[in-house]
Symmetry: C2
Subunit: 661 residues, 2 copies
């Protein structure tokens, strides 16, 4: 997960005899995109065609569906450019520039602690991002690397008009469903095609990846360019123990219960199934991902390694008087802050972090309430998510025309309100204020029935309104959002002051010591910023068995039972024999990836696209805390499988021609 | 949790100046009963009236309900003895004799290991229990104490005709529902009255507890006599880590998801709600109990204490050459066996332990298949649950007329089958054999629709049939049970040989060393055998606040919101003002209890009943692994509250007269 401006060309050269040039790196970087919903993708034609995963655009496909025309089930193919359909509230960004702002950030926060530190950091970040964001077409992020060891300013070209061009049926894209998720061997065509538009016309891009029909060989050197979301490899043992013992188990139990509710809700009718599906898929995926993480930490050998590594670093620091003085009691400070975080976790979760309670309407209400207060403040004093650099996103999320389903809203709200009462207890003042004499279900129904926020026009009105108007609103969802906002600001400030800033400052000192001792021999934790990883196509061992690196269309046959999720859609079933059984379908590589890398291109030495990342194997989930090259694997769709399917199953010749002319 | 034959009279005398006599102990023991479903209770009249918790007889109340007459919601009161209604498949037992069989068990297993040990132990237990079980009215259990340090034979007088006499509405018994469960302050009338019948007439019992209307005072010495189910206080650190990191989280996630499904299933209709309710209550209760346990282990200070205690014991053993030789590498053996148990946990769970898959029909099918094979074997060679001593229970469970709800059966089976595929993976041979081309939901529907086992007559037929008939059966539930039986026997044998017997033998050596060092200064782990605990009525500190030991009817008012579970049933609401607000309702004591103690009487020095155990506070859940007198509390209904409610709300004067003449 190397940054593009710090890629270890020499190491790659030494191991594989291939040295990526500056032009090669620039070409790959400018061909890569980040999608609005935390996925990756790549330009694959000069006319702005974008390849990503089906699961990355599932929401868009569902939003473009109707009761009569379920594009998730049936798939979608725009026969002509003008049939391509805009995804609501969806954008993509291309990283055009990286600049180092470490000195500026450190200068602005020097000597500060607690709230003063948090405010100073917010202010400098807002200032840097604000100055850089010159239009709606530009997006700027100050990226923290090495847990505050370095700060970079990433400037992105932003495309807000992104249209759906092609999507296979979900039964093909997500064949094997949840049981196969994070597993290998796999048989998925988890891809989709979008197109970036600029001023109403297909965007003309200077860089895009050429398509290799042949794909990679076993042992080939391959690169993954994408946006890994988040790893926690530099966390201290105290922080890891908190994840293992508290944060992950609690989140998993909550997701498991929600999963059960959504599953059963979906069984009531076909319409319900359609409504619940997207949320359920997200919950299932999140559940399995966190489950894998928890299991890695619960592995006593893995945890012991982490402990030993920390002890070894501590010993090295201790042996160096200067470092020792700089680091001080950083580990102790983090452990004590962690204990505080544990005590305030339910207040923080329900009053600030989980403020949408899983409901789109409440989330909108909350954003409107906060926006009405934040918009009149100077940029530097605003909550970061309402800063100038983020204002386009705030607006887009509020004005999205994506459908809102009352029944799903009630289900999500009722569940969250019940969890709230369960975790804080029926006698907690906040619980009493929120629930009053209502049951969680009763309140959820009242809120969804009583709010007018389902109408975009009403949101627009309140977006323009002042704080007083919001304060006076009788809309029950706005009223709840006001209570959340009020309590949330208090607990957030407390958390930022007593925990976050303490942890950040202490982590920076540990990170600085690591730099001094290890240099840049390791890459920084993932932070959703663009990274380039290298690896090879290689199988792995699972429960004592060797797993081969490729699957083929022939193998798909043995997996079909005819029952979901092991059923194939009719059309695909009828035409799949046109594709040779020996055509590779999926494959695994040793690249180090994590959630957010979904949709990343796999690129060969020639800079051509040979595959599409869509998953990791079960062991890759522990990658949040550490990468184990023996068993962690990236799971990808073979480039040839996509072309074959477009050509022979879907009759999408106009795309085949555009992709592989 | 002292045994009656080893009660520390001197310690109680020294601390409280009260010395329970042999007669006092015998009176309390013979007044105590164990109920068929793992609860406790007590005789409270000479005519066999039994006091226990509403939640202990919820199943009976539900089974006696119909669509038209929901006794769970409405409550039940038999105006005359002849209106008392028999609980299906329900029995109670009274402990009449305890004898020591340690020497016999140790002699029979001496020098044996692995399978030979398991078989020898099974054989001697079956022999001892078999010889003792002289009729259907007798039940005998060989009870293992101090993890195999001692073996006692417990002889019970068994009553199989047990009738429902009185039950309040669930809204009163379980006021506050799941949010209040394991919490205090509480406001519950969680009681119910049964009557033991003998040859069709009310049983005449020689011992019963007199009722104290006044109840206990703060600081009073009180005793709890009951059947604590299971504690794991002597587990090694390796075993505790397995519970913390694997067993408890996995079980909790599964229960959470099932809870979500049952909740949502119940929301479809009032009838569904009724059908799912009992199972849902059980799931919620189990979830919260295990959650409390996990949290105790995840508390790093608690776990560190456990580690230190183990290291201290190891050091003492090491310092004593003879003990050291006897114990050998017991801790290492357990740790290695634990690692094996971890590897085989999914096979064991799905092929043997969880063989009913949460379905009554599959459970019946499995029992029929096993019974057909086991019944022709000599007693000593049978699986213990099919030994002569258990045969009455096997029959009772098979021939129960309790209703079976198809929809609930399908929900439970579909869930378990999905979990099976998820945990073992779609390519596992057992998964392929069980599911074939079906989806979990499809197979569940097929099984429930296709089986004839809903009819008791069909079960009776197959109970009498030979193994061949069962082997040839085309009933799909029997067919699945056959597959489970076959695989289950293999994995069970492997587990018993490679894990269980190793752990038991090693635990015995550690337990023996503990005896040598600590004597009987501590009581043995709970094993569902009758125990007597002493303590006092005392509040506790929670989140920095002092919690008073009593609640009163007046406090109930402030908790009522009118919405379930904080709503009161109409009749109760209308008449509750007849009870003085100053009447005590619930209280807490320092007695050490655990699940299974529900329904236990709380007894004063005079031997009178002053309260009814129905719960523990949240900290009591960690009691599975260790008792902390500062914060662990027993939660009870006040004896006076019960009499007041019977008298003034329910007009049950015939019972008031019988209880407190």
């Amino acid at each position: 997960m190397w940054t593009f401006n710090d890629f270890p060309v020499d190491k790659v050269e030494a191991s594989y005899g291939f040295s990526p040039s500056a032009e090669w790196l620039e070409h790959v970087r400018l061909s890569s995109v980040r999608t609005g919903r935390g996925c990756s993708g790549s330009f694959v034609s000069k006319d702005g065609l974008i390849l990503t995963n089906h699961h990355c655009i599932h929401t868009c496909i569902q939003q473009l569906s109707t009761k009569r025309s379920d594009l998730v089930e049936a798939g979608f193919f725009a026969a002509r450019t003008k049939d391509e359909r805009r995804c609501p509230n969806f954008d993509i960004s291309q990283l055009v520039e990286i600049s180092d702002v470490t000195d500026k950030v450190l200068a602005a926060t020097k000597g500060k602690t607690g709230e003063a530190y948090t405010n100073a950091k917010k202010a400098i970040v807002a200032q840097l991002e604000g100055a850089c964001t010159t239009s709606d077409k530009v997006r700027c992020d100050v990226v923290s690397l090495y847990r505050g060891g370095r700060y970079n300013l990433y400037t992105y070209r932003r495309y807000q008009d992104v249209r759906l061009v092609f999507a296979p049926e979900v039964g093909v894209a997500f064949f094997g469903g949840d049981p196969d998720n994070f597993n290998f061997p796999r048989y998925n065509l988890d891809f989709g095609l979008l197109r970036a538009f600029d001023d109403g016309k297909p965007a003309q891009v200077q860089h895009h990846l050429r398509w290799s029909k042949k794909g990679p060989d076993e042992g080939s050197l391959v690169f993954v360019s994408g946006h890994p979301g988040s790893t926690q490899r530099l966390l201290t043992v105290a922080q890891l123990a908190y994840q293992r013992d508290t944060a992950l188990p609690e989140r998993l139990m909550s997701l498991a219960e929600l999963r059960g509710r959504l599953h059963e809700m979906g069984r009531r009718s076909a319409e319900n199934e359609r409504i619940a599906r997207r949320t359920l898929l997200g919950v299932e995926n999140g559940f399995k991902a966190l489950k894998g993480r928890r299991e890695a930490l619960a592995d006593s050998a893995f945890f012991a390694d982490k402990s030993r590594a920390e002890e070894s670093l501590q010993a090295k620091v201790k042996a160096d008087p200067k470092l020792s003085e700089q680091v001080g009691d950083a580990w102790g400070e983090i452990a004590r802050a962690q204990a505080k975080a544990r005590d305030m976790r339910f207040d923080l979760r329900y009053q600030e972090y989980h403020r949408g309670f899983g409901s789109k309407l409440l989330s909108i209400a909350h954003t409107l309430v906060r926006w009405s207060e934040e918009k009149s403040k100077p940029n530097a004093e605003r909550l970061p998510e309402f800063g100038q650099a983020r204002s386009a996103r705030v607006k887009a999320s509020l004005f999205s025309k994506a459908p809102i389903y009352s029944q799903l809203e009630v289900t999500m709200l009722a569940f969250s309100l019940e969890q709230l009462r369960r975790d804080l207890g029926p006698d907690h003042a906040f619980v009493r204020e929120v629930l009053g004499k209502y049951s969680p279900q009763g309140l959820a129904e009242r809120l969804v029935k009583g709010t007018r926020l389902a109408k975009v026009a009403q949101r627009k009105k309140l977006y323009e309104a002042d704080a007083k108007t919001l304060q006076a609103s009788k809309d029950p969802m706005i009223q709840l959002a006001r209570a959340l906002d009020r309590h949330g600001r208090v607990v957030r400030k407390k958390y930022e002051t007593e925990v976050e800033s303490v942890v950040t400052r202490a982590s920076e000192r540990i990170a600085a010591a690591r730099f001094a001792l290890l240099g840049r021999s390791v890459y920084p934790d993932a932070t959703s910023s663009l990274r380039l990883s290298y690896g090879t196509v290689a199988g792995f061992e699972h429960l004592g068995q060797e797993v081969a690196p490729f699957t083929h269309f022939a193998g798909l046959e043995t997996r079909v039972t005819g029952q979901a999720p092991f059923a194939l859609p009719k059309k695909f079933k009828a035409r799949r024999s046109k594709i040779s059984g020996s055509q590779a379908l999926n494959f695994v590589t040793t690249n180090d990836i994590i959630g957010g890398n979904s949709g990343s291109p796999i690129i060969n030495e020639a800079g051509d696209l040979v595959g599409l990342v869509f998953d990791g194997n079960i062991y890759s989930l522990g990658g949040a805390y550490g990468f184990d090259e023996r068993i962690n694997r990236t799971v990808a769709v073979h480039s040839g499988a996509i072309i074959e399917a477009l050509d022979k199953v879907y009759g999408a010749q106009r795309l085949v021609k555009e992709l592989a002319p």
